[in-house]
Every structure is written in C-alpha cells, then in structure tokens.
C-alpha cells in the first residue's frame, strides 16, 4: 500500500467508526486554534457526543484529511461518514437551525438540554 492509500484507509476507518467526528487542532479541552474552538463549542451546544482527532499530533492525517475531503483547512466535521464542512459552514448551519435538523435527519442522538 502506498503511503497516501494507507492514510486514506486510516481516515476512512475513523470516519466510518464514529457517528460524529471532528478533525481539529488540539483537543476539546485545549483547542489550539480559534476555528477549532468554535467548532467544538457548536457541537457541545447541540449536546451531541463526538469523537475528535488532533491533527497536530498526526502530520499524516493533517495533510491526508485535506486531500480526503478536498478541503484546505482544519477543522473538518464528518457526520455518519458524510463530510459536512469546516467551522464557517458549521456556524452558518448552526445559526440557521440547519445543523440541528441535519443531526436529527441523520439520527444522531442528543443529550437533553
């Protein structure tokens, strides 16, 4: 397997194995970038459980995810294997009530708020 195929397989495994996964810089507790921090806040506000991948700890994923999603920046949100977007799209969708609706449509459970 070539290196990029290997990275793609690792990414596919993470994306397929988690209902909601955020590729971000840092961790939810210690985000290392304002955009990643904003993405975490939105998901927490929606009461959704999510996995995270800290791309700063994994340079292969950091480069690989950009090619995988055809998306130039971090953070990146995947829901049920589908690429949703970065923090701008998350905020736009959140403010329009569309992210909430999207999670419902995808059958993602939410904590009662």
């Amino acid at each position: 397997m070539s290196e990029s195929t290997e990275v793609n397989a690792r990414i596919a495994e993470v994306v397929g194995g988690n209902d909601v996964v955020l590729f971000m810089k840092g961790t939810p507790l210690f985000p290392q970038c304002g955009f990643s921090s904003r993405a975490v806040q939105i998901l927490e506000h929606l009461g959704v459980e999510f996995a995270t991948v800290d791309v700063l700890r994994d340079p292969e994923i950091r480069d690989g995810i950009k090619a995988y999603s055809d998306w130039p920046t971090i953070p990146q949100l995947y829901v049920k294997g589908e690429f949703v977007g970065g923090s701008d799209i998350m905020l736009e969708m959140y403010e329009a009530g569309e992210l909430d609706q999207f999670l419902d449509e995808k059958g993602v459970p939410r904590a009662a708020s």
């Binding site: 955009f35 998306w71 130039p72 736009e92």
Partner: protein
C-alpha cells in the same frame, strides 16, 4: 506571505464572473479576512460545494498563503 484583499477578490471573480464579492480585513494585518461571495453559480449546491468552488478559485492559497478566510456564500435573491 499575506495576500492583498484586491488579489483575493480578483481570483474569485475570475472563476465566478457574476459574483459579488465583499472582502473585510478582520484584523487589519492582511492575513485574516472575511469574504462574502454571492453568485448564481451556487444555486442548488450544498454549502460544501459552494465553498469548494471559492477555494478552487483561490488555487490552493487557502490554508497556505491565506491563513484565515471566513467564508460566507449565498445565491442572489
């Protein structure tokens, strides 16, 4: 290397000639911009595709020369 707002606007317009493009320099440092792009080309596209069109217009500078571009896309009313 920071990019000029007019350069960003020109690149977006060359790919989306009908687009209205509003660029705001958020921090005044030529490195953190917000862009609002309105184009009929976005009609019927999911947001991800709309943003991908704009990123493609910027030819790989996004995430490189251009660190932060807060992007909003819309279709004309």
């Amino acid at each position: 290397m920071p990019m000029d707002a007019s350069e960003i606007e020109a690149m977006i317009r060359s790919a989306l000639p009908d687009a209205s493009v509003e660029i705001t320099d958020l921090a005044g440092d030529g490195d953190h911009y917000a862009a609002r792009v309105v184009s009929a080309a976005f009609a019927g596209m999911p947001r991800v595709r709309q943003h991908q069109l704009v990123y493609a217009a910027l030819g790989g500078r996004m995430g490189g020369a251009l660190h932060a571009l807060q992007l909003t896309t819309a279709t004309p009313d």
